[in-house]
């Protein structure tokens, strides 16, 4: 009997895993089904460029079907329950679906109501609608206090607020309103963002661009009327335009299934990505509790590890060791403004050593954004 493989989530982690599994296993040996609520695959790194006016939002979403191999079945439906003990998931419309192997790639989601006042008092670029609204706010900004910060940890793409600060500084300069604007960057940590070596690289650039960095600012509340942020550490910051990364949470279906043990993120083994306590359920991408960057590239490097383990189990063969362990590999670009960028490549044991910002890495990031659709989801990169 053919094995039933279900992949939950049609983002970068889910689409790539489903395609890699189908490539490794003949259709007669397994049926691969991918379930996604919207049936749309959204390229979230593009939101940054929507906010700064460089990219049109319409180009960032594609039909999941167009990215999947023909031998992967797409089910456009919302998973509302997971019963791991029984090997079943429940879909909102299609009812109960059984599985032999399950992959959770349900991502991370914005929780705008976790910080009082955030929804009405601040802007963000962490959804398409948010990025489009922020683009308008930046287009009509005539100067004043721009504050960029983080309203909850962890959040996806740790360098994104730093990149936004640099790109917004460029934009305001081009618009002729930079002289009338102060820019404050509020970090919840005692450096620019999680990664130490890259923080050391960007902090002098903040100084060069006249962006004031404030450390240990964990936003507790936003007062939309007085336009003031209050931090848990007891500081207050007035603003005219506040751009805050919203707190993130796990997908409701995963949290309510009990697989997260009451938290938001699915605990997984750092090497195999098997969900703790499960023998046939894996998780990848933003959904896991791994203490590494929540990034598309993380999911990208994790997907082959899960595909190899499932293919080995279905094929009754041992998994190839080097292909079935995740070593914590992540690769990210980091825009530093003025048409330049740097790049970080790291894993569990090796922190990144980012090169001096250059035009090359900026162009590489733009080229990657375009090539994405034809390479990453299909496993060609």
């Amino acid at each position: 009997m053919a094995a039933e493989i279900v992949v939950l989530g049609g983002g970068v982690g889910g689409v790539l895993t489903a395609n890699l599994i189908a490539r490794k296993i003949p259709r007669t040996a397994a049926r691969v089904r991918l379930v996604d609520t919207t049936g749309l695959h959204v390229y979230q790194p593009g939101f940054l460029y929507v906010a700064t006016g460089a990219v049109n939002g319409g180009s960032l979403a594609r039909d999941v079907r167009s990215l999947l191999r023909d031998d992967v079945d797409l089910v456009v439906d919302e998973a509302v329950g997971i019963d791991a003990a029984a090997g079943k998931i429940e879909l909102a419309r299609e009812g109960v679906v059984g599985y032999d192997y399950l992959v959770l790639a349900t991502g991370s989601h914005l929780d705008l109501d976790q910080v009082p006042g955030l929804r009405d008092g601040a802007q963000h670029f962490y959804s398409l609608a948010g990025a489009e609204r922020l683009r308008e706010a930046l287009r009509t900004f005539t100067g004043g206090r721009l504050v960029v910060g983080v309203a909850g940890m962890p959040y996806k793409c740790p360098p994104a607020p730093v990149e936004f600060a640099f790109l917004a500084e460029d934009l305001l300069r081009r618009r002729g309103v930079r002289a009338a604007t102060t820019i404050d960057f509020l970090s919840p940590l005692n450096r620019a963002f999680t990664i130490e070596s890259a923080s050391r690289l960007v902090e002098p650039i903040f100084v060069e661009r006249g962006i004031a960095m404030h450390t240990f600012v964990n936003i507790e509340s936003v007062d939309p009327v007085a336009r003031r942020l209050t931090s848990l550490e007891g500081e207050e910051f007035g603003y005219d335009l506040a751009v805050l990364v919203p707190p993130h949470k796990g997908a409701d279906v995963v949290v309510s299934s009990g697989l997260t043990g009451g938290g938001q993120w699915v605990p997984v083994d750092r090497g195999s990505l098997l969900v703790e306590g499960q023998a046939n359920v894996w998780a990848l991408g933003d959904a896991t509790n791994l203490p590494i960057s929540k990034a598309g590239s993380t999911a990208h490097f994790e997907a082959p590890v899960i595909a190899e383990q499932i293919a080995a189990l279905v094929g009754h063969r041992p998994a190839r060791p080097v292909h079935s362990r995740y070593e914590g590999k992540v690769m990210c670009f980091l825009e530093t403004g003025r048409g330049k960028a740097t790049m970080m490549r790291f894993d569990y044991d090796h922190p990144p050593n980012p090169p001096r910002p250059s035009r090359f890495w900026h162009l590489a990031k733009l080229a990657f954004n375009r090539a994405y659709w034809f390479t990453v989801p299909q496993g060609r990169f």
């Binding site: 940890m153 962890p154 005692n190 450390t215 964990n218 848990l232 550490e233 007891g234 203490p291």
Partner: protein, 78 residues
């Protein structure tokens, strides 16, 4: 007199900035006067946690070096 610990969090499996974020979360959820302990194996915690406690004006009760890890004890002061 030994301080009563209201909550102890084992963050030894997590590394930078995990233990600090655990401390921040626990202090945020505590009431004034309550004490939290966080266990960390991450060397960065030795600078990060005391620096955060000083900035946020809480009380650093103890930093104990134990068998391959450090225990940070903090009382919420305001």
């Amino acid at each position: 007199m030994a301080t009563t610990i209201n909550q102890e969090i084992d963050a030894r499996g997590s590394f930078c900035p995990g233990p600090l974020m655990e401390m921040i979360r626990a202090i945020r959820e505590s009431s004034v006067g309550q004490t939290v302990a966080v266990l960390s194996k991450d060397p960065g915690s030795r600078t990060d946690i005391p620096a955060w406690v000083a900035k946020a004006r809480h009380e650093m009760v103890a930093i104990e070096d134990l068998d391959g890890y450090t225990r940070f004890v903090v009382t919420k002061a305001r």
